[in-house]
């Protein structure tokens, strides 16, 4: 069994509510922000960012784009650079795995990632007293000085595997493995599935003419696909229009 888990995110359906971000943080034991943390030092394995067509007034158009680890299939930039195998491409699932306990925090992988989907723990994670009881037992807590990122809610994959084993099955039940962000999306904008399975709805969606991927020309074969019918978003994504010169209200 060799799956290739991936997503197709319909940007036209994304309302930018941020449910995926919070669901992700809660599922993966990401601590509440350190008071000094900013959009450049925070930890958001799934982050929704705003897009705009750069115009003002009534011509202005805005959209939102959820960004997470793209689980690059080919020449995975972060895997080859890690000096001590803390990042790994899993052949059986296509998931790019990050092992914070192996990481020495050199941050080379972060400079290598074109999607900026990797996050460094600049501070030790902190919870108010007692809140550690609300931690997900399926995910170990990271410590200061290591890099983390989306592992595609791997603890849910574990549970699915275990359930299958207990039932004497080899393959997991597709319904048992759904990442937190996918589950959380109130508009069902995120389609999750096995892109290696030609019959999987996600695979079919990924092949639609409206579908695209970010920085495809770099050739890393990301497994997070996007979808839109809006011409201006497509133009922006394909780097046909000029980009912002200043950081988004920071």
């Amino acid at each position: 069994m060799s799956a290739r888990y991936g997503m197709v995110i319909d940007l036209d359906r994304c309302t930018g509510c941020g449910a995926c971000m919070i669901a992700c943080a809660a599922e993966n034991n990401v601590s509440p922000p350190e008071p000094r943390a900013t959009w450049r030092t925070g930890i958001t394995p799934m982050v929704v960012r705003a897009l705009s067509n750069g115009k003002d007034g009534t011509d202005r158009r805005e959209a939102f784009i959820p960004i997470t680890c793209m689980h690059c299939e080919h020449e995975t930039p972060c895997v080859s650079v890690c000096p001590q195998q803390a990042v790994e491409f899993d052949k059986s699932t296509g998931i790019v795995m990050q092992m914070p306990q192996r990481c020495l925090g050199c941050r080379y992988c972060m400079t290598a990632c074109p999607y900026h989907a990797r996050y460094f723990n600049w501070w030790d994670p902190q919870w108010p007293p007692g809140m550690e009881k609300s931690l997900n037992p399926g995910v170990s807590v990271r410590m200061r000085g290591v890099v983390e990122k989306c592992n595609l809610c791997h603890s849910r994959y574990h549970d699915a595997l275990q359930k299958a084993a207990a039932a004497g099955k080899k393959e997991i039940d597709v319904a048992d493995y759904v990442p937190a962000c996918v589950e959380a999306c109130p508009t069902g904008a995120i389609q999750f599935g096995d892109l290696a399975d030609p019959k999987d709805p996600a695979t079919i969606a990924a092949k639609s003419p409206d579908a695209f991927r970010l920085l495809e020309a770099i050739g890393t074969e990301p497994k997070i696909h996007y979808k839109t019918t809006q011409a201006w978003i497509r133009a922006l994504a394909d780097r046909q229009s000029d980009r912002p010169t200043e950081a988004p209200h920071v």
Binding site: D12, R13, T15, G16, C17, G18, A19, M21, I22, A23, A26, E27, N29, V30, P32, P33, A37, T38, W39, G42, I43, T44, V47, V48, R49, G57, T58, R61, A63, F64, Q101, D124, P125, W127, P128, P129, G130, M131, E132, K133, S134, L135, N136, P137, G138, V139, S140, V141, M143, E183, A184, P186, T187, G188, A189, T228, T229, Q230, H249, V250
Partner: protein
């Protein structure tokens, strides 16, 4: 022979050499790095059996169904319930971190009197005293609960008043209630049948009503389509999240929504886009256009667009009769896809305003906006699980937090169909806390008990034989053989959904075009979030990312 400095040197060399042939350096090297992987100051998840339970979120009036993952007896994750017919598995962003709220730094676990720590007996005594002196006003932020009945009875017994505070979504329905002489709680929007929705600043895609209900509709019928089945026209000064995703966004000048509404009314009637003949506003199209800062042609187009795809319904962000009147012209009241009457079953909770002067004590319960100032001179007792800060209540009384209180959840304000849910308390209620109902019952043992009233309501539903119970699979109430079975299902997180709305029984008479100052539109995205504090993880949205602006409400 005696020991020289040279010997010491050589001896040390010998020891150093020897150490290398022992496990000491190597094991220490290994253990040191293992230590960094298990730093004592980094919390560890607890061990214990993991189970999944169903309940409902009682933090705001939406009352979404929640699937709660429990480990070692504590909630470690929440998600929506896909079998819930209303939310269809959705929750608001804040809901996903709600299970951490019980440990929020602002959690109230001690009785506070004018900022100083106090105790329950003292609070009881103080309250008993004031009760003896005069009438009591009870302000209920969550009317329609079983507990609300208890509060109402208590208020009545102490010749006081019971007042329900409602959120913007309920307020938006007030005008129709007034015009058609039915209680607000009986009204709802039949979004499922609407083809065009004109929102005057209502954050329809951003926390309006019940999460999931409209968002799912929108994503299935509108998202990304050039000519969608469901047209969402957003009329708002700024490009909000909803405006950004709407089929059309009309930028109106701040606070001129009434003017635009008036202009639209004129176009609709004068160009015979609607059957009804008025009433008409006094304002002329030109005046209105100037006020709203929108060219007349644009207003005409908008009016046409509104009726192109009927049925059309107008939704306001808060009570605004001048805009609501458009629905009368559009004939969107009592018709499919408009404002409809829910099938009525639960008894009504009227709201009798208190006589300010005479009231000696005011009790605030439920998720009442933190900045609410009760219109009385008397002592104020406020029940809250979290301290939102800056409350002017004399007494802050800690009440149960998230999933710590057994309560039922009446129909959500915007819903067009009656629903009934029970939010089972998956966590034990902390001894430090009391609900208002418990507090009152201590004074008066004869008050109706919440658990019993919930039982009674389940019985009611069973007797009426109407609607459907949504558990794993939907089961019509009529098929239930005993009320106990039905109650058990509801207590395990199932939802009762009433009959589909009646369209005929609602008549709405409007003599003249209403004139009222439009209230400030809901801009703060957390406005519909009832608890005074946000889950800490919410800061991911505005501190650790630039997705949203930090909310106006204090973060404690």
């Amino acid at each position: 022979m005696k020991f020289s400095r040279r010997d010491l040197l050589i001896g040390t060399v010998g020891i150093t050499a020897g150490i290398a042939f022992t496990p000491v350096p190597w094991k220490l090297l290994g253990d040191a790095s293992i230590w960094t992987q298990n730093w004592p100051w980094i919390p560890q998840p607890s061990h214990g059996p993991v189970e999944t339970k169903l309940s409902a979120c009682a933090l705001c009036v939406a009352g979404c169904g929640m699937r709660v993952r429990m480990a070692a007896g504590f909630p470690v994750g929440v998600s929506g319930v896909t079998t819930n017919p209303v939310t269809q598995g959705a929750l608001c962003p804040l809901g996903f971190a709600a299970h951490q709220l019980n440990w929020h730094p602002a959690r109230l676990l001690t009785v506070r009197h004018n900022g100083r720590a106090s105790s329950w007996p003292e609070a009881q005594a103080a309250f008993a005293k004031t009760c003896a002196e005069g009438p009591v006003a009870v302000i209920d932020g969550r009317p329609g609960r079983a507990a609300s009945a208890t509060l109402e009875v208590f208020a009545a017994k102490h010749n006081g008043s019971y007042q329900a505070v409602s959120g913007p979504e309920t307020n938006a329905l007030v005008p129709y209630a007034a015009w058609s002489e039915v209680p607000v709680s009986a009204l709802g929007y039949d979004l499922e049948n609407a083809r065009t929705i004109v929102s005057f600043g209502a954050p329809l895609l951003d926390g309006w009503g019940t999460p999931g209900r409209f968002t799912r509709l929108w994503s299935e019928r509108a998202a990304g389509q050039i000519n969608p089945q469901l047209r969402l026209i957003q009329i708002e000064p700024s490009l909000s999240h909803t405006a950004a995703r709407a089929w059309r966004w009309v930028a109106v000048r701040e606070g001129t929504q009434s003017a635009l509404a008036a202009a639209l009314a004129r176009v609709l009637v004068e160009e015979h886009l609607v059957k009804t003949q008025g009433p008409l506003p006094d304002m002329t199209l030109e005046q209105a256009a100037v006020q709203a800062g929108i060219p007349i042609t644009a207003i005409r187009d908008l009016a046409h667009a509104m009726v192109e795809c009927a049925p059309t319904v107008v939704i306001t962000s808060d009570s605004d009769p001048t805009v609501s009147a458009l629905n009368v012209l559009l004939g969107a009241i009592g018709t499919p896809g408009g404002i409809v009457l829910k099938t009525k079953m639960n008894q009504q909770h009227g709201s009798v305003p208190a006589a300010p002067a005479t009231v000696r004590a005011t009790v605030i319960d439920g998720t009442v906006p933190w900045d609410l100032i009760p219109p009385t001179q008397g002592e104020v007792f406020r029940f809250a699980a979290w301290d939102g800060g800056g409350s002017n209540a004399d007494w802050l009384l800690p009440s149960p937090g998230f999933l710590e209180e057994l309560t039922d959840i009446p129909t959500a304000p915007t819903s067009s169909i009656e629903t009934y849910t029970i939010a089972t308390n998956l966590l034990a209620q902390p001894q430090e806390t009391q609900t208002a109902a418990q507090f009152f019952s201590k004074l008066d043992g004869t008050l109706p008990d919440v658990d019993k009233s919930i039982h009674a309501r389940c019985e009611q539903i069973f007797q009426a034989k109407l609607g459907t119970i949504y558990a794993g699979k939907p089961t019509p109430v009529a098929q239930f053989t005993s009320g106990a079975k039905l109650e058990a299902q509801l207590r395990n997180g199932s939802v009762w959904l009433g009959e589909s709305p009646r369209h005929t029984t609602l008549r709405c008479a409007l003599k003249t075009w209403p004139t009222a100052a439009a209230p400030a539109p809901v801009t703060d995205w957390t406005a519909t979030w009832a608890p005074p504090v946000l889950p800490l993880l919410a800061a991911k949205l505005y501190q650790e990312s630039t997705l949203r602006d930090a909310p106006g409400r204090s973060q404690a």
